[in-house]
C-alpha cells in the first residue's frame, strides 16, 4: 500500500474547470473537473474512449477546449500553444510513441533542452561564448537524463533502431530534459512487459522523491495504478464518475460497474 499521500495539504498545481471538447457532434469530454496536487502521482483511468487522451491533449495545448478553463499554478493556460505550455513546466509523452526517428537518442533528448536554452540566430551563426557554454551545458544535462533512463550506451544510435521499451524511456527522458514541474504520461506502461513495468514504477516513485515533480498519468495497468498512485480520477463517457485514493476507488461501486465490473470476468 502506498505511504499516506501528502494529498490534501499540498497546493493544487493543475486544475481543469468544466472543460468540454466536441469533435463535430461527438462530445468527447463534457464539463470535466480535475485537480492535481503538487508532489503527488495522480492517475486518470477509465474504459477506452472515455476521453482521457482528449483531456491530456487539452491540458498540453494540442486541442483547444470549447468551454472551461485550465489553470496551472493559478495561471490560465487554456488554448496556449504547446511550446508555451512546455515552457511553463508541463512536459508530456504520447500514447503511441512519437520520437525523432532519423536522429540519435541524444539528439532526441536534446529537444527537451530547447525551451531552456536561448541562443538566437546571431549567437548560433557566430558561435558566441555564451552559445558554446549553453550548448555544452545542454549536452551535459541531456546526457544526465539519458543515463537516468539507462540509455547511455545507445545515445548515438538512431531512435528508430532501439528496442520498444527503450523508446518509452527515451520519450520520458526527453520530457524530463525540459525540467518540468508536472510530468504528463499517456499510458507509459502500454507495451511493456511486467518486469519493465516494475522498473517504470520504481523509476517514477524515485523521481517524485528526488525531484520536485508531480506526475499525472493515464494508465490501464491496474496494479501500476494501485501501486504508485496517490490519487485516482475515473472517467467514463467524457465525464468524471469518481475520484479518491486508490483504496477508495478499488471499492467504489460505480467505478466497478462502469469499469472494473467489465474487468471481473477478465483474467488479470
Amino acid at each position: 500500500m502506498p505511504e499516506p499521500s501528502p494529498q490534501k495539504d499540498a497546493p493544487v498545481i493543475l486544475e481543469t474547470r468544466a472543460i468540454t471538447k466536441i469533435f463535430g457532434g461527438l462530445t468527447a469530454v463534457s464539463n470535466f473537473d480535475l485537480s492535481v496536487h503538487a508532489g503527488e502521482i495522480s492517475s486518470l483511468i477509465g474504459p477506452n474512449g472515455a476521453g482521457k487522451t482528449t483531456v491530456f491533449n487539452a491540458v498540453t495545448g494540442i486541442y483547444r477546449p470549447e468551454e472551461g478553463r485550465i489553470l496551472f499554478n493559478g495561471a490560465d493556460i487554456t488554448g496556449n500553444a504547446p511550446h508555451r505550455i512546455v515552457a511553463r513546466g508541463i512536459a508530456r509523452t504520447f500514447q503511441n510513441i512519437r520520437l525523432f526517428a532519423a536522429m540519435t537518442c541524444l539528439e532526441n533528448v536534446m529537444a527537451g533542452r530547447h525551451c531552456r536554452t536561448s541562443a538566437g540566430l546571431w549567437a548560433s551563426l557566430f558561435q558566441t561564448a555564451g552559445q558554446k557554454k549553453e550548448e555544452a551545458r545542454a549536452v551535459e544535462i541531456a546526457e544526465e537524463r539519458i543515463r537516468q533512463v539507462g540509455l547511455w550506451k545507445a545515445r548515438n544510435d538512431l531512435a528508430k533502431n532501439i528496442a520498444y521499451g527503450s523508446r518509452r524511456m527515451l520519450e520520458i527522458a526527453r520530457a524530463l530534459a525540459t525540467d518540468p514541474t508536472l510530468l504528463v504520461l499517456d499510458e507509459p506502461s502500454s507495451g511493456l512487459n511486467p518486469r519493465e513495468t516494475e522498473d517504470l514504477m520504481d523509476f517514477l516513485k524515485d523521481l517524485i522523491h528526488r525531484e520536485k515533480v508531480t506526475i499525472l498519468l493515464i494508465e490501464h495497468d491496474m496494479n501500476m495504478v494501485m501501486g504508485i498512485s496517490d490519487w485516482v480520477t475515473v472517467m467514463d463517457g467524457g465525464q468524471k464518475i469518481a475520484e479518491g485514493t486508490p483504496t477508495e476507488i478499488y471499492s467504489n461501486p460505480r467505478v466497478i460497474e462502469a469499469y472494473l465490473g467489465a474487468a471481473d470476468d477478465e483474467e488479470n
Binding site: 469533435f23 487522451t53 491533449n57 494540442i62 486541442y63 504520447f94 500514447q95
Partner: protein, 303 residues
C-alpha cells in the same frame, strides 16, 4: 445577359478539360500521394497519337466508321497506347521509389515528365502540329445571341458522361471501394485481401487513358497542339485536385470546373493578363480558410 451565359459556357468548357485531367491525376495522386507530373505528358502524348491516327488513317477510318466513328477510333487508339505507356512509366520510374517516401518520388515524376516531353519532341518535331480541319465538324449554333459550337456542346456532354461513369465506378462498385480503401490506407487494404498491384494496374491504365482522351478532345477543339502544352495542363490539374481536396475524386471534378469558371471570371471581368494571378490568389485564400481544400474532410490531427 447572353454574354454572361456565353462566358459561363466558355468557362465550363475550359473547366471540363481541367476536370477530366484532374480526374486522371487524382486517381494516381489519391492512392499513392504521388504528384504525377508525367500526367500532363500522357495528355500530350494522347493528343499527338490522336493526331497521327487522324492524319494517316483518316481515309480508312472515315470510310469504315464515318466522321464521328473515325474520331472515336483515334481516341481509342490513343487511350490504349497511352495506358501502356502509363504502366511502363509506373513500373520503371515509380514502383522502385514507393518505399523511399514522398519527396524522392517527386523528383522521379519530374524526370519522367521531362523524358516524355522531350521524347514527344524528338518523335514529332518541335513544330506546332494541327489537327486536320476537314475532319472536324464546324457547326455553329445560335440561341438568342449566344454563340456556341456543336463541338463545345459535344465536349461538355462527353466530359460529364465520363465523369459520371468514373464517379459510378469509384463510388458505387466493389472495385471502386477497393480503390478508395487503398487510397485511405494501403497496408490495411492489402490485409483485407485487396490486391495492391491490381489497383495500381487499374489506376495507371485508366488515369493516363483518361488523360489521352482529353488530349484528343483538346486537339479536336483547338486544333493546335505543341509538345510543351502538357506542362501547363498538368499544373492546372494539380491545382484543381488540391482545390477539390486531396484523394477526393468528385472533389477533383468540381475543382476542375470551378477552376475553369475562375479563369473565365478573371479573364472576362478583370484582365486577361492577370487571369492566372487571380486564380492562384483564390486558391491560396481557399486553403488559408479551409486547409484541406473545398471538399477535403477536415481530419483532426490524430495524436
Amino acid at each position: 445577359m447572353e454574354v454572361f451565359i456565353e462566358q459561363i459556357i466558355n468557362g465550363l468548357t475550359i473547366g471540363s478539360f481541367y476536370a477530366l485531367i484532374a480526374l486522371g491525376y487524382s486517381m494516381v495522386y489519391g492512392i499513392l500521394k504521388l504528384i504525377n507530373f508525367a500526367h500532363g505528358d500522357f495528355f500530350t502524348l494522347g493528343s499527338y497519337l490522336g493526331y497521327t491516327v487522324l492524319v494517316f488513317g483518316s481515309a480508312f477510318l472515315t470510310s469504315h466508321f464515318g466522321l464521328w466513328g473515325g474520331i472515336m477510333a483515334a481516341a481509342a487508339v490513343a487511350a490504349i497506347s497511352v495506358a501502356l505507356v502509363g504502366i511502363m512509366v509506373e513500373r520503371l520510374a515509380y514502383r522502385p521509389i514507393y518505399p523511399t517516401g514522398r519527396l524522392p518520388a517527386v523528383v522521379s515524376a519530374l524526370g519522367a515528365s521531362i523524358f516524355l516531353q522531350n521524347a514527344i519532341m524528338v518523335v514529332w518535331g518541335p513544330r506546332y502540329q494541327a489537327y486536320p480541319a476537314a475532319l472536324i465538324p464546324n457547326i455553329h449554333l445560335h440561341w438568342g445571341g449566344i454563340h456556341v459550337t456543336l463541338l463545345q456542346l459535344v465536349i461538355l456532354i462527353l466530359s460529364l458522361v465520363l465523369m459520371g461513369v468514373l464517379y459510378y465506378v469509384i463510388q458505387k462498385t466493389l472495385f471502386g471501394a477497393a480503390i478508395r480503401a487503398t487510397a485511405l490506407d494501403k497496408d490495411t487494404a492489402a490485409l483485407m485481401g485487396i490486391n495492391f498491384n491490381k489497383v495500381i494496374f487499374f489506376i495507371f491504365t485508366l488515369g493516363p487513358a483518361l488523360g489521352a482522351i482529353t488530349g484528343v478532345m483538346v486537339g479536336m477543339y483547338y486544333r493546335q497542339i505543341s509538345f510543351t502544352m502538357g506542362w501547363n495542363y498538368g499544373l492546372k490539374a494539380f491545382t484543381a485536385t488540391i482545390l477539390g481536396g486531396i484523394g477526393n475524386l468528385p472533389g477533383a471534378m468540381f475543382g476542375g470546373l470551378i477552376l475553369g469558371l475562375l479563369e473565365m471570371f478573371g479573364g472576362a471581368y478583370i484582365s486577361a493578363a492577370w487571369k492566372d494571378v487571380f486564380v492562384f490568389l483564390i486558391l491560396i485564400l481557399v486553403l488559408i480558410f479551409r486547409p484541406t481544400g473545398l471538399f477535403g474532410e477536415k481530419t483532426a490531427e490524430k495524436v
